[in-house]
Amino acid sequence: MSESLHQAFDLGLFWEYRKVLIAGLAVNFYVFAAAAVVALGIGLGAALLRVNRLPVFRWLGTLHVEIFRNAPEYIMVVWVHFVLPLLLGYLIRTRLEFNPFVSSVIGLGLVYSGYFAETFRAGIENIPIAHIEAGRSLGMSERAIFWRIVLPQVVRRMLPESVNQFISLFKATTIVSLIAVPDLMYDVTMITQQEMRPLPLYTGAALTYFVVILAASSVLRALSERWRAKIYA
């Protein structure tokens, strides 16, 4: 029995296809990086809306967060890929088609912008007003105070929480395989159809993701702890 189990689990097959699979993993990273940039940018914008003086802006920010935090990643990616080009094409009267890579980045970026908006908002609201008053007393403009005093502290304070969300985002990039973006999962699925040996391939993929995420999160946590300890004794 252990003979056939050993045969079934032959990870050598996974190793054989390593070039293709590494290229697939790289696609996961590209999608992750691009979606992270989108999510951080839009998330920061939404957070600023949420803490604005005017109630209408606060309402817009809350609307954004509630819509995108409560949307499953897969639904959002599929919707952006299949529905949004139809809608936009209708508006400008041409036939539009989105590159699946672009759809994934936009879909994932929007969903995670909801999470990052809340992270940023919590960070901004926790900066002591005293630091801001010190800046005002020195004649600094509100913009200078935000970029030089508030935002740098928000980034440092929210780094541990953000690491968790980056990990979720990286894990979520596997769903892009379902709209034919050639990431690791997609490659594994294609190869399985040819080789008809799902065990080593899917197990190898799972192990790969696990190792990458564990390594990255350990390094990021260690770095962020050292960075914070230097400043907040």
Binding site: P128, G135, S137, L138, M140, K230, I231, Y232
Partner: protein, 256 residues
């Protein structure tokens, strides 16, 4: 006749239903040191925060070097509230030191000191660093320039805060209970720096519980009670021969 460095005119400040300042007026001439004493809740901090417009007065005016920080002159003598950009311009002439130091933890000591000169006055990095070194030397902390505030003692942090305010070369230095958060051993190092500033001819308004400092260093002392100046005058007169009963009680409670 030159305008007084600071002129406060009939200042009122109300927070909701509570009126904290009920009509305070006084002048501070250049080079003079004015101490404000009084019980908690008498309005001393609020008065200081109105002077640099961290709080907006409910009515009345504050003039810095003859220029109102609350209102801008309009046509036909009409006044309108000052926009933030002009308030910030006038704030450069007012340095303030807070009770809780309020240093920025993510910047080094010298980073804290030169941030405003760089962003607000547009100083280049080299000049700003030279200015920072000079200000830190004035508070006897030149060797701590590259440290982060979290590593410094309370007295050292407060001296950095003084250096940060001095770096903008303000006309007036405002102190809001600068030693109230410090252990008694650390109070003297900060008071020492303040004494040196006074001797150098700095115009200062100091809200304080340190009666010794108020008596020895001030040109004038104001006793605030319930949002009004109950009594004011030279320190010898106020401490030696207080006229009001409340002041007498206050002094007996606070002077050891």
């Amino acid at each position: 006749m030159t305008a007084p460095t600071i002129r406060v005119v009939d200042l009122h400040k109300r927070f909701g239903a509570l009126e904290v300042l009920k009509g305070v007026s006084f002048d501070v001439e250049r080079g003079k040191v004015v101490s404000m004493i009084g019980a908690s809740g008498s309005g001393k901090s609020t008065l200081l925060r109105c002077i640099n417009h961290l709080e907006t007065p409910s009515s009345g005016d504050v003039l810095i070097g003859g220029e109102s920080i609350c209102f801008r002159p309009g046509r036909n003598g009409e006044r309108s509230p000052r926009p933030l950009s002009e308030i910030n311009r006038i704030r450069r002439d007012l340095g303030i030191v807070f009770q809780q130091f309020n240093l920025w933890p993510h910047m080094t000591v010298v980073g804290n000191v030169i941030e405003a000169p760089r962003r607000v006055l547009g100083l280049a990095r080299k000049e700003a660093l030279a200015l920072g070194a000079a200000c830190l030397a004035r508070v006897h902390l030149a060797d701590k320039a590259t440290q982060y505030p979290a590593r410094l003692s309370g007295g050292q942090q407060q001296r950095v805060a003084i250096a940060r305010a001095l770096a903008m070369q303000p006309k007036v230095m405002l102190f809001d209970e600068p030693t109230s958060s410090l252990d008694p051993e650390l109070t003297e190092e900060v008071l020492g720096v303040m004494r040196e500033l006074a001797a150098d001819g700095t115009t200062m308004i100091v809200v304080t519980h340190e009666m010794g400092f108020a008596r020895d260093v001030s040109d004038r002392v104001m006793f605030l009670h319930n949002g009004l100046i109950e009594e004011e005058g030279a320190p010898e007169a106020l401490f030696g021969a207080p006229k009001s009963e409340r002041l007498r009680q206050f002094i007996s409670k606070h002077v050891r």
